[in-house]
Symmetry: C3
Subunit: 343 residues, 3 copies
C-alpha cells in the first residue's frame, strides 16, 4: 500500500465501477466479479487479494502467473493464462486503464488555497483564485497566475510571465520570458526562459546576440526536474500541448516541439530544430540544430541525429541511421571479429 | 518585433550609423541607403521593410531570397544575389555585425539598484555600488560583491566568495569557494564551488578526500543554466576569460579551461583535464580525466575523448578520432553492409 | 596551502602520528622520520618541505621524481625510486591514506548550531539537536530532521520527509516523499522524490500514472549537484548505503542501487533497473530500464547498456559489450580502414 505519510487514498471501489470507467471487460463476467471490492492498486509482485494490478511488460509475466492480486488489467491474450482466482479486466491498453484507476484511488489534490506571508509577490502581479503560493516563492512585476495554481517553495515567476490555470510550478524552479498554458507542470529545478546560447564567435571576445524570443508552452505539458528550456533568439521556443519531457533535458533556443511528444531524460535538442507531433526520443539522445524530425518518428536512446528524420521513421546509433541499417552495422562489426578469430 | 512585455527597444537607427558601428559596407552605397531608418531587428522570415536581418547559415538562403526585410547583413558573396529592394550591409562576419546591432536596439540594462528587504545579507558581507539584490537572495559572511551586480531571486553567494563588477548571478544559482572576475554571468540554477567527486575507493566505505581548492573564473564568462562546476581538490578549477559554457555541463575538480572556449550543452569534463584557449566542444561530449586538449582543438558532438588532443585538431566519435579517420570508419562500416547485401 | 578564506586547518602533525593513523610504514624508518613535523597537505607539484603529498596515478610520476614535498604516501614499488630527502609513507593504498590525513588537517565541521529566523519551518516539523538551518530553507509539515544536520540556504524538505542524523542538505536542493539515513549529503540543487516519468501513451493525451512509491536512501550516501532521483511508481527507488553519486545524474523511478556503488557524472539509469553492490559506472553511461547489473560490474564511460550485466563484468561501448569484445570491434574497424588505404 502506498505510504500514508505521502499519499492519501480517496476510497475503495467495486470492480464493476472500475471496469466501466476504464472501458475494460470483466473476465469472468457476472456479479461476483462486478461487486468485488478493491481497496488499493499495486504492482503484481506485492499486490494482495483486495488489490488491483496490471500486466503491461512481458518481462513481468512470472509475477503475473504467481500473483496474489485480486484483479488485474491485462490484454485479451494474457487473460487466457491468468492464474485461478484472479479476476481479469481485459483491455487493449492495460497500462492506460491502470493509470486511470490509480488516479481514481489517489487523485492529485491541491493543498488548501493560501498565499504564504513568506512568499514575495510584487504588488503589480496578478494571482488567480484558489492558488497556493508557498514560502520562499517569488512572483515578479506584471506576472499573471491563473486559477488553481500551486507555486511551490522557492519557485520564481519572472516579470510579465503568464501562467495558465491548474498549473504547478515546482520547488526552486524558475520561469522568465514565457507564456504557459493550462495544466502545465514544471518539476523542481526546471529552468524556463533564460537566454539561449547565442553569440558570434570572435577571437577578440565572442559577441552576445540578444535573445529576443520567448518560451511558449501549450496545455497539459510536464517538464522534468532540472530540465532547461532556453527562450528563442528571435522566434520563440515552443513546446506543444500534451508533450512530456523528462529530467535533465536541454532544449535550445528556437526549438519547436509539437503535440504529444515524449522526450526522455538527458536528451539535448540543439537550436532551431523542429520536432513534429507524437515524436518519441529516448534517453541521452542528441539532436543537431536546424533539423526537422517528422511526425511520429522514434529515436532510440543515445542516438546522435545529424540529419532530418522522415515521419514515422525509427532511428538508432550515433550517427543515427534507420534502425534496420543500424542493426546491420552492429552485426557486420561482430561478424568481422568472428572472422578474425576463425583465422 | 520582440515582445514588449519582455524586451525594451532603445530606439531606431539610420542604416549609415549601423554600418559605421559594425564596420559594414552599404550596398547600394549612397545617401538613400545611409538615411534609411531601421526600427527593429528580426529573422529573415518575419522581417518587414523597416527591419534589419542577417544571413549567416546558408540553410536559410531561401528565406533570404524571399525576404521582406529592409536591410540585411550578408557576406560579399551573398550580396550579389540579394533580392531587389533589399539594402545589404556587407560584412565578412554578418552574424557578429548583427549581434552588435541587436545589442544597440536591445541593450542589457540593470533594474533600478535596490537591495530587497527580503534578501538575506550577512552583516559582514560587502556589497558594491549600484547593485540589485532581489528577494530571497542570500549573501554570506565575508562575501564581496563588486559594483553594478545583479543577484537574482534565491541566488546564494557563499562565505568569503568574491564576485567582480558587472556580474549577474541567476535565479536560484549558488556559488561557494570561488572568485569571479568582472562581467561574469551565471544562469539560473548554476552550481559553482561544491566539493569535487573525490574519494579513495574502499570496500569498507569510500574515504572522502577533502576538496581544498577553489573555482577561479575570469572575466566575461557565461555559464549556462543548471551547469555544475566543482571546486579543485588541491589545485583550483579554472575557467578562463571569455569562455562560454552552455546548460547542464559538468566540469570536474581541477579542470583548467583556457580563454575564449565554447562548451556546448551537456558536455562532461572529467577531473584534472586541461583545455587550452579557443577550444570548441560540441554537445554531450565526454572528456576523460588528466588529459590535455590543445589550443583551438574542435571536438564534435557526442565524442568520447580518451587521449590528449593536439592543437587545432578536429575529433569525432566515441572513442574519438581525428575527423578524417572517423568518417572513414563510418564509410567502411557502411561498405561492409553493402557487400553483405550484394552477395 | 589551502586558501584560509575557505578552509581552516586543524593543526600540524608529526609523521609518526600520521603513519600510525593511516597504517603506513615510514621509509626511512626511525625517529628522524617519525618526529618530522608536517604542516599541510598538497599535490606533489606544489608541495614544499613541510608538506605531505601522495602518488597514486603514474601519470604524475615526473612530479614525484622532482617534488619538493617533505613526505609522500606511495606504494612499496614507487618508494624505491623516491627522490633523495623525501620521506615515504609506504601504503598499499596511498590515496586512501592521503584522504585520511587530509581529513585530519581539514576536518569537516558544522557551523554553530542555529535556526535562522529567515528559515521557514512548519510548526509540526520536528528538528533534532545541534542543527543549522539557514535563511531561506523551508521544512514542511511533519518533516523530521535528525541531530547535527545542516540545511543550507533555500533547501526544501517536503511534507513528512525523514532525514537522519549528521545529514547535510545543500543550497537550493529539494527532497520530497523520501526517507534519508544518517550521514547523507545532498549537494546543491539535488532533486529527490519528485514523480517518476510514468504515463500511459495515448494519442488523445498521455495518461499520468500516479507515482505512489518513495525514495529510500541509506547511510553515508553522497549525491552530486543538480542530480535528480525520482520516487518509485509503486515500489520505492532505493539508494544503498555507502553509494556515491556525482553531478547531473538521472535515477529513474523504482531503480534500486546497492551498497558502495560509484556513479559518475551525467549517468542515466532508466526505471526499474536493479544495480547490485559495488558497481562502478563511468560518466555519461546510459542504462536501459528493467535490467540487472551484477555485483562489482564496471561500465565504462558513455556506454549504452541494453542487457543484463553479469557480476564482475566490465563493459564498454554503445551498445555495451564485454570490454574485450569492444576493443576487438574498434580494432577490426581500424583494420578495415588500413586495408582500404593499402589497396
Amino acid at each position: 500500500m502506498a505510504d500514508p505519510a505521502f499519499f492519501k487514498k480517496a476510497g475503495e471501489f467495486a470492480l464493476g465501477e472500475i471496469a466501466q470507467k476504464t472501458g475494460a471487460t470483466l473476465v469472468p463476467a457476472g456479479d461476483d466479479s462486478a461487486k468485488k471490492i478493491i481497496r488499493d492498486v499495486a504492482p503484481l509482485s506485492v499486490a494482495g487479494p483486495e488489490t488491483l494490478s496490471f500486466l503491461d511488460n512481458l518481462k513481468y509475466r512470472e509475477d503475473f502467473l504467481k500473483t496474489n492480486a485480486g484483479a488485474c488489467f491485462v490484454t485479451p491474450e494474457m487473460a487466457k493464462v491468468a492464474p485461478a482466482g484472479l479476476t481479469c479486466l481485459v483491455s487493449p491498453s492495460p497500462y492506460k486503464a491502470y493509470a486511470q484507476t490509480a488516479q481514481l484511488f489517489y487523485p492529485e489534490t491541491l493543498p488548501k488555497a493560501e498565499i504564504s506571508e513568506r512568499a514575495w509577490i510584487h504588488p503589480l502581479a496578478k494571482i488567480g483564485e484558489h492558488c497556493v503560493i508557498e514560502a520562499g516563492a517569488c512572483v515578479e512585476e506584471g506576472a499573471q497566475i491563473g486559477n488553481d495554481c500551486w507555486i511551490e517553495h522557492g519557485a520564481v515567476i519572472g516579470r510579465n510571465v503568464r501562467v495558465g490555470n491548474h498549473c504547478r510550478i515546482g520547488t526552486n524552479a524558475s520561469v522568465s520570458h514565457a507564456y504557459l498554458g493550462d495544466h502545465v507542470r514544471l518539476y523542481p529545478g526546471v529552468r524556463v526562459g533564460q537566454d539561449g546560447f547565442g553569440f558570434a564567435i570572435d577571437p577578440t571576445g565572442h559577441v552576445k546576440v540578444p535573445q529576443l524570443g520567448r518560451v511558449v508552452i501549450g496545455d497539459h505539458v510536464e517538464i522534468g526536474a532540472n530540465t532547461t528550456i532556453d527562450r528563442g533568439a528571435g522566434p520563440d521556443t515552443v513546446i506543444g500541448s500534451g508533450t512530456w519531457i523528462d529530467n535533465l533535458v536541454q532544449i535550445g533556443h528556437n526549438v519547436e516541439i509539437g503535440r504529444g511528444c515524449i522526450i526522455v531524460a538527458q536528451v539535448g535538442i540543439s537550436g532551431s530544430t523542429k520536432i513534429d507531433d507524437f515524436v518519441a526520443i529516448g534517453g541521452q539522445v542528441g539532436v543537431a540544430g536546424h533539423l526537422k524530425i517528422g511526425k511520429g518518428a522514434r529515436i532510440g536512446a543515445q542516438a546522435g541525429v545529424m540529419r532530418d528524420v522522415p515521419p514515422g521513421e525509427e532511428q538508432l546509433g550515433s550517427p543515427a541511421y534507420p534502425s534496420r541499417h543500424y542493426f546491420r552495422q552492429i552485426a557486420a562489426l561482430n561478424r568481422l571479429i568472428q572472422k578474425k578469430k576463425g583465422v
